[in-house]
């Protein structure tokens, strides 16, 4: 009996300590994350504008407006289209290609070579988005390098591929910049995952007569699943939240409509046009979209984890 009581109180004490350790962060998130998003939620139900002195409660009108009206030519539906296209056009190639590159890197003979490539791939991520955008704006200029290189590769000359001017190419350009920036980061994540697989597994497979391709599909890939899911979710969420790339492009003269991602629409509607109620409603909608996509990804990947 005395032993039991002692154990209970230790556990209780431990629990309290555990909670105590999380308190500083909780306080921080309460003030700087929970409160603001709650504030945004409340604002989304009002007609709040930046300069007006008063605002009134209007229920779901902001939401209805966003799904039915134009918002000055930059409708929410257009933003959703732009965001979805950007997200899927970027994160899917990014995940697939970075996995592919990680596998290739694992084939190299010397670890120093692997390290060199990882560093080289990662370098763009080291630059700030503003710097990256300013470089690429010059590269994508009609007279710039990208046009020149593309012309060489396709054996044409003097053709402007309209990287920043055509609707479609502009979206493609933002994807290229984002991809360029983050590919190295995801390669490293996959290398971490691949390195965590003990070599004994591969040895066992080779002993069992498996060839490389078979090993990859049936052993490596399933073992890598948790990493892939994790990386996918991270990449997708990051793409959904994209802002700087599109913002910098528009600031430098590109058209806004084709790349008017939701975050940018929120910014312009709220800070530029002063329609705070409406911008808050858009933020809540984005938040919900992100929750849904994350939940979907979890569901899709919910098969038994491979144990080894």
């Amino acid at each position: 009996m005395p032993k039991k009581i002692k154990k209970y109180s230790i556990e209780q004490k431990q629990a309290r300590w555990g909670f105590a350790f999380t308190v500083p962060c909780l306080v921080f998130f309460a003030v700087f994350s929970f409160y603001p998003i709650f504030n945004a939620l409340v604002t989304s139900f009002t007609s709040r504008q930046a300069i007006a002195r008063t605002s009134k409660f209007i229920g779901l009108q902001n939401y209805i407006y966003l799904f039915t009206k134009d918002n000055g030519g930059f409708s929410l539906l257009n933003s959703m289209r732009a965001t979805v296209i950007f997200t899927f056009g970027t994160f899917v190639p990014m995940v697939v290609i970075s996995l592919f590159l990680a596998v290739l890197l694992m084939q190299l003979r010397r670890p120093s070579q692997k390290g060199f490539f990882q560093i080289a791939f990662y370098m763009p991520a080291v630059l700030s988005s503003v710097v990256a955008a300013s470089i690429w704006m010059i590269l994508f200029d009609p007279r710039g390098l990208v046009n020149q290189i593309t012309n060489t590769v396709f054996f044409t000359s003097g053709q402007d591929f309209k990287w920043l001017t055509s609707n479609v190419m502009l979206q493609f350009s933002t994807m290229i910049v984002y991809f360029w920036k983050y590919i190295g980061y995801f390669v490293i994540l996959f290398i971490t995952g691949l390195s965590a697989i003990p070599p004994s597994i591969y040895e066992a497979a080779t002993v069992d007569g498996s060839n490389k391709w078979h090993t990859f599909w049936h052993i490596t890939l399933p073992l890598l699943k948790p990493t892939i899911v994790l990386v996918s979710i991270m990449a997708m969420l990051q793409c959904l939240k994209t802002f700087s790339t599109q913002y910098m492009f528009v600031q430098n003269g590109a058209a806004r409509q084709p790349i008017d991602v939701i975050t940018m629409n929120i910014y312009y509607t709220g800070i530029r046009n002063g329609k705070l109620g409406r911008a808050s409603a858009m933020s809540i909608i984005l938040f919900i979209i992100m929750l849904i996509f994350t939940w979907l990804q979890f569901k899709v990947s919910k098969t038994d984890d491979v144990e080894y």
Binding site: A15, G18, F34, T43, L101, A196
Partner: protein
């Protein structure tokens, strides 16, 4: 750790692997080399068709420019007020502070979530993870008002405090600490060490890889922060590097050379940091190795 070691013959697979890797390498490196090279050129050369990678000597003498004219313009700024240096210092202060606080607070929180059992543990963890889904633009204005009411406008506190810790940091620390052997902790407790001492003397020193990675990533995120300083830094002396570059590009829009010089200078601290600590970026082997035994 290589999983497939070839000995001797180079197979066709390997050749293709190298070709692909080199192509991707060119893709990632070229814009950076471009920035470096262009910072020594003037606008005419940068947008010349075809682009010449080596700045021609002739125009240096004819147009009264030196090797470093662009850098001079970049630093001196449009109003000759040399504010760029101050902006760089601001960025450094903010990034270093946020990096330090993030590591500290995230490790505290991650430790609590990973190594202790309390009822609300999962709820707390999920709530913090949920904040990762809040886009900054959504809370920008309420945050502005909070900062304004706390009299943090146009101050270092205003730039730092909203970014004291990140949910991602908490996640990383928790994941890492989940695999920390609990036996050590229990042994220390039996020996009579207080919880805080355990954290300080046993847990933290053994977390160096993840602390370094987290620290660097936090530094980088703050270095890159554009929107928040845009709202908070109203006077020139409080602005950070991204603001300086945007302003510079708006005004000197046609002086691409100075723009690239500006961009290069702004990237130097990151390159140094990255160069010195690159092994904490390169994933896999080292982290795995150090955890064995």
């Amino acid at each position: 750790m290589n999983t497939n070691k070839y000995v001797g013959r180079i197979g066709i697979g390997e050749v293709i692997a190298w070709i692909v890797l080199i192509l991707v390498l060119l893709f990632t490196i070229t814009p950076i080399i471009f920035m470096f090279v262009a910072s020594f050129m003037d606008a005419k050369q940068i947008l010349a068709m075809p682009f010449k990678w080596i700045p021609s000597r002739s125009y240096f003498t004819t147009e009264n420019r030196t090797f470093f004219t662009n850098f001079y313009h970049a630093i001196v700024g449009n109003n000759n007020n040399n504010i760029f240096i101050r902006n760089i210092i601001n960025s450094l202060i903010v990034a270093i502070t946020c990096s330090a606080t993030t590591v500290l607070l995230a490790s505290l929180c991650g430790y609590g979530l990973a190594k202790f059992n309390f009822k609300s543990r999962n709820f707390v963890f999920m709530s913090i993870m949920a904040t990762m889904m809040i886009p900054f633009e959504a809370i920008m204005i309420p945050l502005y008002m909070v900062a304004s009411n706390l009299h943090m406008m146009n101050t270092y506190q205003g730039l730092i405090v909203p970014f004291l810790v990140s949910a991602f940091g908490v996640f990383q620390m928790r994941q890492y600490l989940l695999t920390f052997p609990t036996e050590y902790l229990d042994a220390a407790r039996v020996d009579g060490y207080g919880e805080f001492k355990i954290f300080h003397h046993i847990v933290l020193p053994n977390c160096t890889p993840v602390i370094a990675t987290l620290g660097i990533l936090s530094f980088r995120n703050q270095w890159d922060n554009l929107l928040w300083p845009l709202l908070v830094s109203q006077s020139e002396t409080m602005k950070t590097i991204p603001l300086y570059i945007t302003k510079f590009s708006e005004e000197k829009q046609t002086d691409e050379g100075a723009m690239m010089a500006c961009a290069l200078i702004a990237s130097i601290p990151m390159f140094i940091l990255f160069g010195a600590l690159s092994k904490y970026f390169i994933g896999g082997a080292e982290v795995y190795e150090s955890r064995k035994g």
